[in-house]
């Protein structure tokens, strides 16, 4: 187990500095290889045929004419993927169901959303593959479809699965429906508590699904050998789950599949799903040649998982001195074509920043004819926070309290109970609120048509399995590898933690991401877990190396191992009595590695626990054009408890990125469907993510409340920052115009409609 070293901030030499990342030069010179940048001799190009219908039964697929087109080498459909058993495997909240997964990769009985993959062609050129798609005849029986979550829950709504009985209800309902799961978390007596409240606010909300918006479309290259061994180069948020899911869907042993981590062009949770890898591998197995599959932007927007659209109602009661006494919420989230929206996260995160005696949250996971929902940055929590933090803002107004003071009065701290589980074990929330109040701009009044909105957010932050390997080169430089895919600079933070622990200069540590054949299992890169959990594996590996180095020094000095200590990069006698030996540097010990036992290597793995949650609080100033409803963000001050910032620039970068994604979610991003359930805005023109000229500089306030369970006090940073944004903007618009908007996005037509109402 990890020996707990009590770190003292002052004597850190590397952690907390801002070195240049070891993998930066290839990225700024165009040398870095992403999913679509790999190619091999004899490579074929693959294109995927996608359903034009939102909901239809597949009667037959005729590929004969397409196969005759010169240059077409193979076509795969559902028949090339083995059937999977129908059961939910793994933890309840994020259970994997391979029966659903294989259908999402390649439709079987029905197509369940426009863009659903039906077949894939491998050909010698892209244009031939493209032409072949047009020659595939699919006989569809078009069915009525449903997209909105409320519509999908109506008793007469068309059913995606004729036999789906809601899970989680006791007793279970008798009639099938589109509701795949029901859940409830409660504590205390909510209904009675509302009677004791001086002020009660109840509002309903609707939010549109939004896409993660990564700039790199999904892409991969697969090479299946005649010996049944397959290699895949793919950009994903975790090459280990790509291997696991791909092997399962193709009926292969894990040992026969090696997945190499290409650089990833953004994921935000959306690349924790397999879409193209099983297709490329199946085509490569059928042709015996390497196959490249790359999605177009339209494929990505039309057919890959956004986060859920939602319909919510939140009711909160408080006494006039600002104590929240009762909170009751219903969250209905779109799961898309297959069950699995983040509704349980929404239920659990909703009121988590606040200590409330009586709470009830109810969640519905509802399927509808849209791509299956995938994770998007603290999945579920931003949706719930839009509703909860809007209601809390209105409540603070009604009892005449400053919105930050109102939150501070109810803020959780270490020891506070949660309504869904164990008591909190970490502080950090109040500190983010205090950071806002201390900000010089917080008290400054604003001008005409301007308003300041406040909101907060809670996220679990993940732990879990990570592996790291270290071997010391002959010249004393350090080769560090982990199995955690690096999206936003984790190779730098790993190298920094290793350099700090070993006491060597950062530049002597080479940090890489190893493929699935070269290192032990690593859980996905997501849930803000990598710096925390993989960091622990790196530190444990360093401690094992240090033990080995001290042992080798002891051999050299003919003393007992315990008589040698490791201090800023050198083996030293534990006390003068041991002897007056010259300290031995890492370089020196490495040079004598042969006689002291051979190569200096280690691989260490953890199943990290003790992770602390991420709290974020923000105030956002906006100006509303009263004549057009356009909302301009003037200022965004975003405080977040980062535990201890290993590399401050990348912590700030996470906060900037999450807040800007939140601004897009709040103001412009939505899907527009026509009557047939077809997407009308599948590209980056009409699916509007924020551009540089839309935004001010985002102010990131890194609040450091160290996590004692991590040697360097690390807490997850990646996700909490997006949670408060939409509510903060809604609250700011209300202060600027007096109108409370409860529907996302708060686009100009909606704001103008509210202004003119």
């Amino acid at each position: 187990m990890l020996t707990k070293t009590k770190f003292v901030a002052e004597d850190l030499k590397v952690v907390g500095t801002r070195p240049i990342r070891p993998d930066g030069v290839p990225k700024v010179t165009g040398m870095a290889q992403y999913g679509a940048d790999y190619s091999l001799p004899g490579m074929l190009w693959a294109k995927i045929l996608r359903s034009p219908h939102a909901h239809a039964r597949i009667r037959s697929i005729d590929v004969s004419r397409a196969l005759e087109l010169p240059g077409v080498k193979a076509i795969v459909t559902k028949d090339d993927f083995p059937e999977q058993s129908f059961d939910y495997i793994g933890p309840d909240r994020v259970a994997v169901n391979y029966w659903h997964m294989t259908r999402n990769v390649m439709a079987r009985e029905k197509v369940l959303y426009e863009g659903h993959a039906v077949a894939a062609v491998a050909a010698t050129t892209q244009s031939i593959a493209e032409q072949a798609l047009a020659l595939i005849q699919v006989d569809y029986e078009v069915l009525p479809h449903v997209i909105d979550v409320d519509d999908a829950m109506r008793p007469d709504a068309p059913l995606l699965f004729e036999d789906m009985i809601t899970r989680g209800m006791t007793p279970p309902p008798t009639k099938p429906s589109n509701i795949s799961r029901w859940a409830e978390f409660k504590t205390g007596d909510v209904d009675a508590a509302f009677a004791k409240a001086d002020a009660v606010v109840e509002l309903s909300f609707k939010t549109s699904p939004v896409h993660q918006g990564y700039i790199e479309p999904h892409a991969c290259l697969a090479r299946f050998g005649a010996d049944g061994q397959c290699e895949i180069w793919s950009s994903s948020q975790g090459h280990f789950f790509v291997r696991a899911y791909t092997a399962k869907l193709l009926g292969m042993n894990l040992g026969d599949l090696v997945v190499h981590p290409a650089e990833i062009g953004g994921g935000f949770g959306g690349k924790t799903v397999v879409y193209v890898e099983p297709v490329a591998a199946a085509l490569s197995r059928k042709t015996g040649r390497p196959v490249k599959v790359a999605m177009t932007r339209e494929d990505v927007t039309r057919a890959t998982g956004p986060t859920s659209g939602s319909s919510m109602t939140v009711k909160v009661g408080a006494t006039k001195d600002g104590k929240i006494v009762a909170a009751d919420a219903v969250f209905k989230l779109q799961a898309g074509a297959f069950p699995g929206s983040p509704v349980l996260n929404a239920c659990m995160c909703s009121f988590s920043p606040y200590e409330i005696e009586n709470v009830r949250t109810v969640g519905y996971d509802v399927v509808s004819n849209r791509p299956k929902a995938a994770a998007y940055r603290a999945p579920g929590s931003p949706i719930a926070a839009f509703a909860v933090e809007s209601v809390l803002d209105k409540l603070a107004q009604e009892i005449g309290m400053d919105p930050v003071q109102f939150r501070l009065k109810n803020a959780v701290k270490a020891g506070s109970p949660t309504f869904w589980g164990p008591k909190h074990a970490h502080d950090g929330y109040a500190e983010t609120l205090q950071a806002l109040m201390a900000h010089p701009e917080y008290q400054k009044p604003l001008g005409k048509n301007q308003g300041r909105g406040v909101a907060s957010g809670f996220w679990f932050n993940g732990g879990g399995e990570s592996t790291a390997t270290i071997h010391i080169n002959e010249d004393g430089t350090v080769m560090l590898a982990t199995g955690s895919m690096d999206v936003g600079g984790s190779r730098a933070s790993m190298a920094m933690m290793a350099a700090e622990t070993l006491g060597v200069p950062y530049e002597t540590v080479r940090s890489t991401v190893a493929d699935t054949a070269s290192i032990g299992y690593n859980h996905v890169t997501g849930g803000s877990r990598v710096t925390y959990a993989t960091g622990m594996a790196v530190i444990e590996a360093c401690q094992q190396i240090i033990k080995d180095l001290c042992h080798r020094a002891a051999l050299t000095w003919d003393v007992k191992d315990e008589d040698v200590i490791w201090e800023n990069g050198h083996a030293k006698p534990a006390s003068p009595e041991v002897g007056s030996f010259e300290p031995l540097s890492l370089k020196a010990i490495a040079a004598k590695r042969a006689v002291t036992g051979g190569p200096i290597v280690t691989e260490s793995a953890v199943n990290a626990g003790g992770m602390a949650p991420g709290f974020a609080s923000q105030f956002i100033d906006v100006e509303v054009d009263p004549e057009t409803g356009a909302v301009k963000v003037l200022r965004a001050v975003c405080a977040q408890d980062v535990g201890k910032a290993i590399h401050p620039s990348y912590c700030e970068g996470q906060i900037h990125g999450g807040v800007v994604q939140g601004i897009g979610w709040a103001l412009n991003e939505e899907y527009v469907y026509d009557k047939q359930g077809r997407l009308e805005n599948p590209g980056f023109l009409d699916y509007r993510i924020p551009v540089a000229s839309d935004l001010p500089m985002i102010e990131a306030l890194m609040v450091e409340v160290p996590n004692p369970n991590h040697p360097y006090g690390v807490k997850g940073v990646g996700e909490a920052n997006i949670i408060p944004v939409m509510a903060a903007i809604a609250n700011a618009i209300e202060r600027a115009t007096g109108k409370r908007l409860t529907q996302l996005p708060m686009s100009p037509p909606r704001v103008l409609e509210a202004l003119d109402a």
């Binding site: 057009t628 551009v691 839309d694 037509p749 409609e753």
Partner: protein, 274 residues
Amino acid sequence: MLMTASHGAGKILAGGTDLLIQMRSGRVRPGTIIDVKNIPEMSTVVAEGGGFRVGAAVPCMHLVENKAFSAAWPGVIDGINLIGSIQVRGRATVGGNLCNASPAADSVPAMIAAGAIASVMGPNGRRELPVEEIPAGPGKTSLAPGEVVTSFYLPHRPPRSGDAYLRFTPRSEMDIAVVGVGVNLTLDENGVCTAARVALGAVAARAMLVPECAAALIGTKVDEAALEKLAAAASAAAQPIDDKRGTKVFRIKVSGVLAKRAALVALRRAKGEK
């Protein structure tokens, strides 16, 4: 000649920033692509008779960087400067923007307000017609098969003239107009408006000149009352649809709002204020 030879399957390639997108999506499958960028008349900007002869295939950035033209027609430059992005404007042309015939094209309302005259070459020779007569509906122009717009003539500017173009888009850049308004007016020495042209974009099947809007300005000092009448006329003239970019109600109201704001910018420019 090439155009007629390709029996209607020929497509003109100027900047290509609309054509290539349509080819990629399969909406258009040209048999022949005719690159017109090397035809002198189409790729130059020259002074002519006190006004400007602008080639239909001149890239936007080329026009934006032309000091003389920008000084004379700031409103037209406003429109051109909102087409796509810097990258798109490096290729896109005013001729292409017009003939792609999107009702929301950003340069067209300003060109109409400016009174630009298009010069068209075809199988039966050359003809001239005002820019507003070329768009005929979404993706359709009034040009006969084989006809190509070769250049535009923007007339001489009388003193105390000013033009402006404003559009509404959810994003500050990289967007398609939900509403677009071009205004061009001339004042006499007492500040009374003697001539005006107002054109609306994105609020009907094609960009259109709105005489009622001009009437609201002519003879007035472009004061608050005149601006209110202008706004009402603009909203009345708008026949928008609900689509993925905006609602009918929104477009009708914002047409009036932008007409007023654009008129104020044109007024300031006519008075020589920056």
